[in-house]
């Protein structure tokens, strides 16, 4: 049983945590692709930026002597950080992408422009915060939650941190809210219509400019959420999300670009695949070590830990070859 709990802690919980971050990030990527038809490469850096906004807000709150009893301050300021990042995202669109779109630039040009945005955001973050790491938990403590399993002979506990729990709750709220928005509200339906066929949506009287703005607001807000959650789980650094932009894109593509629910599925698929691939499966077989016909090796992992990032990519290639538009039939340029 102890081994099973070890498995649960290291694969299931870690996979849910990682998958939530990938999913929330991938929703933004997939929405932008659906509406604007280009791969927004700067999404990872928008996540990092959102995390830094939250960090600044937290520092400001703490400087004003404001403390929260149960929750980490970094989490409490998240809604405000989401609003700020959404505003910045609108500004980025106005300053960088809208002029190119107005000129009728190809999606490829917009992709290159988004690399320019990546470099500018990273440069600014490094300029102001240096290249070191920052923690949300300098003054507060990261609470560890241990749940004992009421079974005989079980000594291990199910472990996770409070930010991880909050992160999963926040993801569920965000996904439900997004679902209601996309299926119930007029604007959400307009967004789906535009993702399906932009020209048809425009001639049927949908305000496409408004839809674009709403897309950036949602993408910016979700980016801030994903970035802050990641920074609460690990540490804050300038290349925090730049390093995971590949799995996020993989999640969006695997789920089918332009499909928000595909992105969620893709995010969890890749999150679980990564944690399962680096898990030491030999641990699970240890209780039966005596009755096995061969000697059990100390470590049996599908890939060594250093190659964790390659898992996302292998899944991406396999899915692209087997079903080129993703599992849920995504859009194409």
């Amino acid at each position: 049983m102890n081994e099973l709990i070890f498995f649960f802690n290291n694969v299931m919980i870690a996979g849910v945590v990682l998958g939530s971050i990938y999913a929330v990030g991938a929703i933004g990527v997939t929405l932008i692709f659906g509406i604007l038809r280009f791969a927004h490469f700067a999404h990872g850096d928008m996540m990092t930026m959102g995390a830094f906004v939250a960090f600044l807000l937290m520092t400001a709150f703490q400087a004003m002597g404001f403390t929260t009893p149960f929750l980490p301050t970094g989490f409490v300021v998240l809604p405000i950080a989401m609003v700020f990042t959404a505003i910045i995202a609108l500004g980025i669109d106005k300053g960088f992408y809208a002029p190119l779109r107005a000129r009728g630039a190809r999606p490829v040009t917009l992709l290159i422009a988004s690399i320019g945005v990546t470099l500018i955001i990273q440069g600014l973050i490094r300029l102001f915060f240096g290249s070191g790491t920052w923690s949300f938990f300098e003054t507060e403590q990261k609470q560890l939650i241990r749940i004992p399993v009421p079974l005989e002979g079980v000594t291990r506990t199910i472990n996770f941190t409070q930010p991880q729990l909050l992160m999963i709750v926040a993801t569920i709220i965000a996904v439900v809210a997004l679902h209601l928005f996309l299926t119930r509200s007029r604007l959400g339906k307009a967004m789906r219509a535009m993702a399906d066929n932009a020209d048809l949506a425009q001639v049927s009287g949908i305000n496409t400019k408004l839809v674009v703005r709403v897309t950036w607001i949602i993408a910016g807000g979700l980016a801030a959420m994903a970035g802050t959650m990641l920074a609460l789980d690990v540490n804050l650094k300038p290349d925090l999300a730049f390093n995971i932009v590949l799995p996020i894109f993989a999640a969006a593509i695997v789920g089918g670009l332009g499909k928000p629910f595909g992105a969620i599925a893709g995010g969890y698929l890749i999150g679980f695949a990564e944690t399962a691939a680096i898990f030491n499966w030999s641990v699970l077989a240890r209780p039966f070590a005596g009755s096995l016909p061969f000697e059990l090796p100390a470590t049996v992992a599908i890939v060594p830990t250093e190659y964790k990032l390659t898992v996302a990519f292998v899944i991406l290639v396999v899915v692209l070859l087997w079903r080129p538009t993703g599992i849920f039939k995504g859009a194409s340029t």
């Binding site: 320019g116 470099l119 240096g130 190659y307 990032l309 990519f313 070859l321």
Partner: protein, 430 residues
């Protein structure tokens, strides 16, 4: 203003910029900058073939540069006698046999339909073959790697051959990998291709960084020999220390310029010829080109491999020149995006533009650090004077400025000169 006159003016301006920077930084520094910027020009030519001629979205340049570096390290580094005297070569040979056996197995599984295994069963057999091949290979390579790293001399070492051979091997290795990558990825649409190539370059980085037995990983390899005399060799012949660095670097520069000139000549000829015309036709409208009987996928694979060869050679030259191979130092920003900015700013599709962009962007990239430092020092002095206090950690902040400058440069270029400073000239036969 005609494009020829405009490019002449731009190159003259670039020359003046190099002279001014050289005057400010000294001859030793500018000779270093020149060698590196011309090596980058070779890489930019490679991307110009892929993107400018063929319209392929390769974001995996970093991987090709790393492969080139690994190749030149392997060929030109002195022989590691301890490894060759140990069990290591035998074990590696076994791992290689396992790899070949695995490929044979997969190859066989893909032809399983000849044995009457069809449809779902064939996919099942293929997946099974992949899994078996992977397990067989891992079972051989893992002990071999562990043995070499602990008892077999640490890593395989080099072959002790001439560095220029290493550069050629860098090109060959990059070509081989590009062929496999292209086979898998070139069927994908543009933005998928971008993500896929990024992924592949990340995999190459993960492999080269962690295969300590092959590349020494983060332990780094140095000193890698030069093809031309080193400053130390010149000093031994009685040249003063300050001069020896300049002469040695100029010697290296001459070799790089020869290679660049040959590559440039060939690439330029190819552009004007029927092959280049066909490539442009595929780039501009691949459906029309296909309907005219051109084999689009094959041609794209061709151009992907050719561009990667130049990238591999460029990456090998850079590593040779720096004399150190450190897989941990490769970053997508410095080794992929930088080159994209070079080609976009210079002018995609025009080789003069690519070379111009490479030289201009590399020098901008290198001098934005000292310039930012000077500016920050000035601001810091001013803000201290009026009582606001200085800027902390100016040195580390200034070195990050160049990422920002690069982002601003590409944004301005896309907005105001989307076809580059020296744009492609579309010749129309009357």
């Amino acid at each position: 203003m005609s494009v020829a006159r405009r490019s002449l003016l731009l190159f003259a301006g670039l020359f003046v910029l190099f002279v001014v920077v050289g005057w400010a930084l000294g001859a030793a520094n500018i000779s270093l900058l020149l060698v590196q910027s011309f090596a980058y020009a070779l890489v930019a030519l490679g991307l110009n073939i892929q993107w400018g001629y063929g319209g392929l979205f390769n974001f995996g340049i970093m991987g090709m540069l790393m492969l080139g570096g690994a190749a030149v390290t392997f060929i030109s580094y002195p022989v590691n006698a301890q490894f060759w005297g140990s069990e290591g070569p035998l074990m590696l040979g076994k791992a290689l046999m396992a790899l070949l056996a695995g490929f044979l197995l997969i190859w066989g599984a893909r032809r399983a339909d000849r044995l009457g295994i069809k449809g779902k069963w064939k996919s099942f057999v293929t997946v099974l073959a992949w899994i078996v091949a992977y397990i067989v290979y891992r079972s051989q390579i893992d002990p071999a790697a562990a043995y070499i790293e602990s008892a077999g001399g640490g890593w395989v070492g080099g072959l002790g051959l001439h560095p220029v051979l290493g550069w050629l091997f860098g090109g060959v290795l990059a070509a081989g990998v590009a062929y496999v990558v292209g086979k898998i990825c070139l069927g994908l649409r543009t933005d998928y291709l971008a993500i896929a190539t990024i992924g592949i370059s990340e995999i190459i980085r993960a492999l080269l960084k962690n295969m300590d037995w092959l590349t020494r990983g983060t332990l780094t390899v140095s000193p890698i020999p030069w093809p031309t005399p080193l400053p130390q060799d010149l000093q031994a012949q009685g040249v003063s220390i300050a001069d020896s660095f300049i002469y040695a670097r100029l010697g290296f520069l001459a070799l790089v310029l020869i290679i660049l000139a040959i590559a440039f000549f060939l690439v330029q000829r190819a552009y004007g010829g029927p092959w280049g015309r066909m490539m442009r036709a595929i780039r501009d409208n691949h459906i029309a080109a296909a309907s005219m009987g051109k084999d689009v996928t094959r041609r794209q694979l061709e151009i992907f491999v050719l561009g990667s060869v130049l990238m591999g050679i460029g990456g090998a030259i850079l590593v040779s020149f720096q004399q150190i191979y450190d897989p941990g130092s490769y970053q997508p920003i410095n080794h992929t995006f930088l080159i994209w900015v070079m080609v976009i700013v210079g002018g995609a599709g025009n080789n003069w533009g690519a070379v111009f962009g490479a030289l201009l962007i590399y020098i901008t990239w290198m001098i934005s650090d000292p310039v930012a430092q000077a500016v920050m020092n000035a601001i810091s002095g001013w803000s201290t004077d009026i009582g606001w206090g200085g800027i902390p950690e100016i040195q580390s902040r200034a070195s990050q400025m160049r990422v920002f400058v690069l982002g601003v440069v590409i944004t301005i270029a896309l907005r105001y000169a989307p076809r580059g400073l020296i744009p492609e000239v579309v010749r129309r036969e009357a």
